[in-house]
Amino acid sequence: MRAVITVIGKDMVGILAKISTICAEYNVNVSDVTQSVLQDMFAMIMMVDISKMTIGFSEFSDKLGEQGKALGLSVHCMHEDIFNSMHRI
């Protein structure tokens, strides 16, 4: 089971490190990372494997949200099915 973590906001040092630390803490494996910086806006998309995650999806999503708030970034974690169903037939 995979999920997509998106991080959008102002670029700064340590975004990837802080988000992946949370992933590691709950046994979430990061399988792919794409990031781009448009002027100083930062957009990162992480594909993660949540099948061996040690907490519930809601709690994990909340943890990421809290971290995002602390960094002043918008961080979302969504199950991959939503993207598959919207953009694939």
Partner: protein
């Protein structure tokens, strides 16, 4: 691998363009709750609703978290209560109170089904239920009521039309101290769908399974943004294509949520309703889609054509995205719940007559419209009759949810806040249709009904 631009598109639809699932509605059959003792029947109603829907809100919240898509409402629709009243007799308000208590226990904000189907005539329980509607809506906050007074197959029950003018008015009068809120929860239908997930008109039809999950999507903001991106250079065919593609994506999401809710609650999936349902929030307006197409303001000449195009393209895009489509499925045009409609009504560009024309080409009818407080019962009945005639002849659902603004007149406002929004009192034609309405009887079913 999912494409980055697809991911960002979905995120911006949700974050910036108000994409959401408007409602997950659980339909629950109460036929097994019939009892000759009304108190025992009410107990059974409460028990069954709370048993079936105990996890509805929790499950909705979990799905919302997992997919990151807001699910605005979780609601319940039940078998028309007049059917239970037929066996039990007694005070129908008791059923409304049992529904209210069950809805509160389940944590849902609205419960539909204080309803009667009288399109061909009144059977046991129907008349008593209809007469109790104003009081039921007065003593409850979550209960919604609907009455079906006509259909393409059966014609229009003009006795019921006459009756409903007074019921709508009394529902507003009894709640005059609360912005006439009673009338916002009462819908008078022609060709009422049995699987509509949207309030206030939702009820659980008799042909439905014991329990079912229906989902209503939303997304006017997404459609408007897609049209804005397409620009003004594209022709109408391209406009229709943009709407279709967007509706497809919105509906796929609805289908996913419906499937997931049905699996988690272990309740069969019924339908996805492909309606573009607006909210008073900025950027979530159907009127603004029409204006994006090139109308100076919603209500000007050209509005009906633009709405017809929108309504058709939404269905064409959505129908392939879902395994079962039903309910109302089309664009909604509730005045008080749509920032663009409110503005157009206030400026006088959007009139009741234009709204009536628009209802001939979209999914519902005259919805959430405040009318002057001194409007007579006969005029309300005549408004209902006109709408029902449009529905009957065009084999489509039409509905009337007008709110007589007791003590107020054109220029005043009714304010409910939240999803119900605020309604400017609209001018109506006060010439009397009283003799026509007071004749009673039945408008015969039109030739369109003879399809066999």
């Amino acid at each position: 691998m999912i494409n980055v631009s697809d991911i960002l598109e979905t995120i911006s639809m949700i974050q910036d363009e108000n994409l959401d699932i408007r409602t997950i509605t659980m339909g629950i059959s109460l036929l097994e709750c019939c009892d000759s003792d009304i108190d025992r029947a009410c107990e059974k109603v409460y028990d069954k609703i709370t048993r079936k829907a105990q996890n509805l809100v929790k499950t909705g919240d979990e799905i919302e978290k997992q997919y990151g898509i807001p699910i605005i409402n979780k609601r319940i629709a039940v078998t028309p209560i007049s059917m239970l009243l037929a066996s039990s007799k007694g005070d129908p308000v008791k059923y409304a109170l049992a529904m209210e208590k069950a809805a509160k226990e389940c944590g849902v904000n609205l419960i539909g089904g204080f309803s009667a189907l009288v399109h061909k005539g009144f059977s046991a329980g129907d008349l008593e239920l209809i007469q109790a509607i104003p009081e039921a809506l007065n003593v409850t906050t979550r209960v919604c009521s609907s009455v079906n007074i006509g259909s393409t197959k059966s014609g229009i029950n003009m006795d019921a039309v006459k009756l409903m003018g007074g019921i709508v008015r009394r529902s507003a009068e009894l709640t005059a101290d609360r912005q006439c809120v009673g009338a916002t929860k009462l819908v008078v239908f022609c060709n009422a769908p049995e699987d509509n997930p949207f309030m206030a008109g939702a009820f659980h039809g008799v042909g439905e399974p014991d329990c079912v999950i229906n989902v209503g999507v939303s997304g006017p903001g997404v459609v408007r943004c897609a049209l804005a991106k397409a620009g003004i250079a594209c022709d109408i065919t391209a406009v229709a294509d943009v709407i279709k593609k967007t509706a497809f994506k919105i509906t796929r999401m609805g289908q996913l949520v419906a499937y997931e809710a049905s699996k988690r609650l272990d309740v069969p999936f019924g339908i996805v309703d492909l309606s573009l349902a607006p909210t008073p929030a900025v950027g979530d307006s159907v009127a603004h889609i029409l204006e994006e197409m090139g109308l100076e303001q919603c209500g000007c000449h050209g509005t009906t054509a633009a709405l017809a195009l929108l309504n058709d393209a939404v269905k064409k895009g959505g129908v392939m995205a879902s395994s079962h489509v039903g309910g109302l499925s089309g664009a909604f045009i509730p005045v008080s719940e749509d920032a663009g409609m409110i503005a157009a009504a206030e400026s006088g560009v959007l009139t009741l007559e234009k709204l009536e024309a628009m209802t001939a080409v979209c999914s519902v009818g005259l919805d959430m419209i405040a009318i002057p407080g001194d409007t007579s019962e006969e005029i309300i009945s005549a408004i209902i009759a006109d709408e029902a005639a449009i529905g009957m002849v065009n084999s489509k659902t039409t509905a009337v949810r007008v709110i007589p603004a007791i003590g107020l007149d054109v220029g005043d406002h009714l304010e409910w806040g939240g999803l119900f929004g605020s309604a400017p009192v609209m001018k109506i034609n006060k010439t009397s249709p009283a003799v026509f309405i007071n004749r009673g009887g039945r408008i015969p079913a039109p030739l369109q009904s003879l399809k066999n």
